[in-house]
Symmetry: C2
Subunit: 457 residues, 2 copies
């Protein structure tokens, strides 16, 4: 528990209205994934970079762990705090400071919500490709810490590609700036990159420079319905082999679609097997032609039905379904384990085939969805956490998935630190040398070790 | 000077044919830029990652500086060694280990030459966008250390976007792997990114995983000739404003063109003022339409002549001119100072206008060329190094350029450590806090401080 002395010092920095210690504010994120247990901690909401730096300095002085938190919805669970921690919320640093259509740059505070940011830049005729793959709120700062990608990463890449620079408050209380607003923007070590995916273990970004793109003139969404998930994966590989790079290429299997149908009306038929969502974008002619070609490939790969979303409203209904998919799966179940697996592009159909075989044999209830175009999929498995035999069943299934992924030359685990998740199935735990280096690196930023000590990298 | 003991240890690692100590092998790179003086050192050419690690361990043990070197042509001069240094050459680690068209990944050793790599991947129908902007040989390892971009960075980005992972030998003798061969590939801190642009100050990459793209179906090169450089810059801004993203958009001014003409036949007329080279690529229809539109914009911006290169041979002649431009400028002069300036896209025409005014007033002989589409230009100035008054004249001009760039919201200096160059005009020297952090970071990788201690970051 934090001492009254520390709490008073924090109050002096952020003011009485910048500090909360009500337990109910501090429920763990990602509550579907695992129950992080009761938490008693203090949440501090600074308004300026200077306040952030001073909060960190106080925490360093007293050796108190600090857990940075945006909307607290990150799948790694790394914004969950423990008793006695300071949760540093970016909720009051939520302004879009500037958007330049001429220079294709936005400057934002970390607490800006992704969806608000997307709307604002689109109104200016601009495009920030990383978006949220789920319907849960998320912030720019969170997307940086978790290195998210969103649904359009296949063509446009993820957060890493768009962060041009940052202002950072270090746990030592120092403040630095790295990168800049020009296109090629790094002098010296690329410190901003190091922050992306660092799960708040190095410091707190207080301002982020984001690269924007012109908004594509058209987006064409094609929906293909397959009976077999493997055929959908095969089609997605053939689309890419043809040299078409869709802006999004997403798959949802039957179990996922059934879970969505249980939550309300959906834009797809009730007996759909697997859905492939294909978005092509750019100049109207080219995007349209690529959509037609992709549709033909789906047909010849065994799609039962292929159609173009006729309106942007119709297209949005499919993306909403995709964004709601995880929540729908979670709602239907006692608890859900969501994994992330990645295989080289050429092995995606093999992976989907063997995971579907696993569903038949012993993984009943497992759903498969994700970024099939990138070779990146999320198997999600329902689990009764209170039943030890069910937990060990799920662990066994996860182990088999991991084996399968490794045998296909892929990797098990997300592109970021693993957060509070289970590391026992990680294929490639860093070598002892690698871990030594990571530790030395962490010490360079955070000599007192106060930044999110619970997060595993 | 290295002790016989150390030299013997190095010989035991790399063999007699892996070590050289002839002075003539060790001439400084970037000799046009500045004369780095006589050098006496030892060059070691390991053949395997294990040999690299062992060489570094010996150097650490004896506290001997190590300067990694690819082809030694980097503009930062950071591969220049000092007396008593070990030059670690990657010349014998020059194999392309694999190229996968299915997975769009290549695995290469650091000593592979960029041009050989480009040819090899293109023969496989693939595309590695970062290329060399000059005709001088360069290696993959060098492009990583210097964070190069090449001529197509406007659309495709530079080296940072394509390095997916690395194997690295640390100065401690440790060996680590970071990143992987799948598309989203970082677990934990993004250490590979930190190496990009680090000028060999952190360690030596011994294997690099590079992302490839499908080779675009068409490339259309449009050449526009302007009387005034400012009009060419204006046209380039208007092309981008129209939502066209050319794969390359390069400018060469009259002084550059005249220098090229003095070296032999050129594909442009002798009285050309400024050349704008515009390459659009992709599907034939779209690339052609964008080329036509870009050409129209050039016409309405005051181009005297706009034409399409009718054959790939004709197009190549223009790119060869562009790649030879710096060498041509250097050849014509006693010595040449090349700077790099970057301004926000919307200020490019203003920058070009004011630099051209500077040429009129006091910077006679200054040439301007570069990546106008990115807002990144290279003013190059002839200088007589033996004449102190000429040197101070050039320093004064560089100071004015720097002021101009800063007043336009831009940055002075390259996107990498500044190497051995002059830092006195850097606009944004890191803060004291920033420098402290950089030092702690460097210590984490290189506790003995042996890696390229001469390079400034």
């Amino acid at each position: 528990v934090l001492s009254a002395d520390v709490i008073q010092k924090l109050k002096n920095i952020v003011g009485d209205d910048g500090i909360f210690d009500r337990t109910e504010d501090l429920l763990a994120p990602a509550a579907e994934v695992e129950d992080a247990g009761p938490q008693v901690d203090v949440r501090v909401s600074p308004k300026t970079a200077d306040e952030v730096a001073r909060v960190l300095a106080v925490a360093s002085e007293h050796g108190v762990p600090v857990v940075p938190r945006g909307s607290g919805t990150g799948p790694s669970g790394s914004s969950a705090a423990r008793e006695g921690d300071i949760v540093l919320s970016t909720a009051r640093m939520n302004r879009i400071l500037s958007i330049s259509a001429e220079d294709l740059i936005a400057v934002v505070q970390p607490g800006v919500e992704m969806e608000e940011f997307r709307r604002t830049v689109e109104e200016a005729g601009l495009f920030y490709p990383p978006d949220a793959s789920s319907e849960r709120p998320s912030t720019i700062g969170g997307s940086v810490g978790e290195s998210t990608s969103g649904l359009r990463a296949l063509k446009y890449g993820g957060t890493r590609k768009y962060v041009m620079g940052m202002k950072i408050a270090l746990p030592t209380g120092e403040r630095i700036q790295t990168g800049a607003r020009t296109l090629k923007c790094v002098t010296g070590y690329d410190l901003a990159r190091l922050f992306i995916g660092s799960l708040g273990t190095l410091g707190v970004c207080t301002e982020v420079y984001l690269k924007l793109l012109p908004l594509p003139e058209t987006r064409v969404v094609t929906v293909a319905i397959f009976d077999r998930a493997r055929d959908a994966a095969e089609a997605s590989m053939r689309i890419l082999d043809r040299g078409i790079v869709p802006s999004a290429l997403e798959m949802m299997d039957r179990t996922t679609l059934q879970a969505l149908l249980r939550t309300g009306d959906q834009p797809f038929p009730e007996d759909a097997g697997t859905l492939l969502l294909i978005e092509t974008d750019g100049l109207p002619g080219a995007a349209g032609r690529q959509a037609v070609e992709a549709g033909e490939i789906c047909h010849s790969s065994g799609a039962r039905d292929v159609r173009k979303a006729q309106t942007s409203h119709a297209a949005e209904a499919f993306w909403n379904a995709r964004r709601s998919a995880l929540a729908a799966l979670c709602r239907a179940r006692p608890a859900t384990v969501m994994e992330e697996v990645r295989v080289p592009r050429s092995r995606v159909a093999d992976l989907v085939g063997s995971l579907m075989a696993l569903v038949e044999i012993e993984a009943a209830g497992m759903a498969l969805l994700g970024h099939v175009g990138e070779g990146r999929l999320h198997p999600t498995i329902p689990v009764h956490l209170s039943d030890p035999s069910d937990v060990s069943r799920v662990r066994r299934i996860v182990g088999k998935i991991s084996q399968e992924v490794l045998s296909l030359g892929g990797r098990f685990g997300p592109e970021r630190g693993v957060g509070l998740g289970d590391v026992s199935f990680l294929d490639e735990r860093p070598s002892a040398e690698g871990m030594d280096l990571v530790k030395r690196l962490k010490d360079a930023f955070d000599p007192k070790g106060i930044m999110n000590p619970g997060a595993r990298l």
